[in-house]
């Protein structure tokens, strides 16, 4: 599997409702050791939402403050963002990802502050 097999794919809950597309994939560095890198990166969950515009600009992080006009705009654009824990992912298909949790119960994504 590649990262691009997840990015941009529509996320659907058991009632067939869409939570939008995968905007990003959250990783945690706590997997088995690999070479000089240390613990490997493990997929922890999916950041999903309706509009993908500006997902890559990094305005989800609180420490990126300005310019406020731009920050405001992209905050508003990503207001319906949700986070799906990886253990809630049931199947990954080429055109959609099925999750076991109703989209109403999903939390807001808390983007890691430091990379």
């Amino acid at each position: 599997m590649r990262l691009t097999d997840l990015l941009g794919v529509e996320v659907i809950d058991q009632e067939g409702r869409s939570a939008g597309q995968v905007h990003d994939v959250r990783l945690v560095q706590d997997g088995p050791l690999v070479g000089g890198f240390g613990a490997s990166l493990r997929v922890a969950g999916l950041v999903v939402g309706g509009r993908g515009i500006g997902a890559r600009l990094g305005y989800q992080r609180r420490k990126v403050r300005g310019p406020w006009l731009v920050k405001l705009l992209f905050h508003w654009l990503s207001r319906d963002g949700r986070y799906v824990e990886w253990d809630r992912v049931q199947t990954v298909q080429p055109d959609r990802i099925l999750i076991s949790v109703p989209i109403g119960d999903l939390s807001r994504p808390e983007t890691p502050e430091s990379g």
């Binding site: 990094g58 305005y59 990126v64 403050r65 300005g66 310019p67 406020w68 006009l69 731009v70 990379g115």
Partner: protein
């Protein structure tokens, strides 16, 4: 002392490096047609390029990442590719215009048709980017470009009605017999000439080429804040010369030779010789910068090794792009399309394309992951947001105005 020398050198080369074929053509044409009524655009453009170049230089210095590297990081592979295609095309057009400009300057000195000079000029441009050390290249052509100061000397010697010029510049109004769309179209051309995207590609990549560190941030600021405004002043003297000599006679400059008329009528042969040297150095220097910028943009998008700080054999794809771009640029001029026409299109499209690179830089300059404590100040952000809106309006207005005015004709 050595540091002071380095700063002075940086400022001087920034002045000489600011003016290129686009500034020469845009300022002379505007002065001849609209007098000083569009001088304010040069001021707006200079402030804009200072803002943009300072941010890009600071980002490159602190994070080691040049403009197109960041464009791709912030916009993703797909959007950044569209961005690359547009930016590369415009930079390439500018490269062709500069090669043509060098050939035209030599034609004026030799009376031998410029088309015969084009292959030779292209070869020399390639030879310099292939062989000559980065800082030598930058300093030699930047300093030689200062010969253009002769246009300012001529203006001074002439002792024109300064009050009248200033009045024209501070009371912008569309001259009689000219339409508003045309006036605004020329305003966009002037803005694009002052704020050309390649200047920023080159400036930020140059910071990496020269291995700038945080200690050089002050040099970055001084180069930009002193050098560029003085460069802008130099292009305004070309506008003033056209206002005084060409506008009253109804001369519409379509050739480089006409731009030189005001200077030689005041200063004679020596003035003419200096001006031609200035034209040559400014356009040749800009041909080097645009050629390198073609390579920088593509290599940075794909992550190829780029730069003149390594052996050519260690940056093979970068040097291949340079070689092909320069050859193709010469090819475009050899189709006998008037280099002045290429210049006119390149500066107008430059203005339209500015948000593509300006926006990602504005965003990254606010990101502490890259910048640490060197993120934008509130003042820079306030001004930066103002310019973002301005550049978006310009980008949206350019193509409709171009069609409406038949490209200002």
């Amino acid at each position: 002392m050595k540091r002071l020398f380095a700063i002075a050198l940086g400022i001087l080369t920034a002045i000489g490096g600011f003016v290129d074929i686009g500034d020469i053509v845009a300022n002379a044409e505007t002065g001849a047609r609209f007098g000083m009524s569009l001088a304010w655009v040069v001021v707006v453009g200079v402030i804009g390029i200072c803002l943009f170049a300072e941010m890009a230089g600071r980002v490159a210095t602190v994070s080691g990442r040049a403009v197109f590297d960041l464009v791709r990081e912030r916009l993703g592979a797909r959007v950044a590719l569209v961005n690359l295609a547009a930016s590369f095309f415009i930079t390439f057009l500018t490269l062709a215009a500069e090669i043509g400009g060098v050939a035209l300057a030599i034609e004026l000195a030799t009376s031998v048709n410029y088309l015969l000079w084009v292959p030779i000029v292209a070869f020399l441009v390639w030879l310099v980017v292939w062989r000559v050390k980065f800082d030598v290249m930058e300093n030699v052509f930047g300093l030689a470009g200062l010969a253009l100061v002769v246009a300012a000397v001529a203006l001074w010697r002439l002792g024109p009605d300064w009050g009248g010029l200033l009045h024209g510049a501070t009371h912008p109004a569309v001259p009689q017999g000219e339409g508003h769309p045309t006036w605004w179209f020329f305003a966009i051309a002037l803005l694009g000439a002052a704020m050309t995207p390649y200047e920023v590609f080159f400036f930020s990549s140059g910071a990496v080429e020269e291995g700038w560190s945080r200690a050089d941030l002050i040099t970055n600021r001084l180069n930009v804040y002193i050098g560029f405004p003085l460069g802008g002043l130099l292009s305004l003297t070309l506008m003033a010369g056209a206002t005084l000599f060409l506008e009253p006679r109804g001369i519409q400059p379509g050739h480089l030779s006409q731009v030189a008329l005001p200077t030689l009528l005041v200063l004679g042969k020596l003035g003419l010789a200096m001006l031609l040297i200035g034209f040559f150095a400014a356009t040749f220097g800009a041909a080097l910068e645009t050629g390198l910028s073609c390579g920088y943009a593509v290599a940075q998008y794909f992550g190829f090794q780029w730069g003149k700080f390594v052996r050519p054999a260690d940056a093979p794809r970068f040097h291949l792009i340079l070689l092909v771009s320069i050859a193709a640029g010469a090819g475009l001029v050899l189709t006998t399309i008037d280099p002045i026409t290429i210049t006119e299109y390149s500066i107008v499209l430059s203005a339209a394309a500015l948000p593509l690179t300006y926006f990602p830089i504005l965003v990254v300059a606010n990101d502490p992951d890259y910048m640490g404590d060197k993120v934008n100040s509130w003042f820079t952000n306030a001004l930066g947001s103002l310019y973002l809106v301005l550049l978006l309006v310009v980008a949206a207005a350019t193509i409709p105005l171009m069609i409406l005015t038949k490209a200002g004709s």
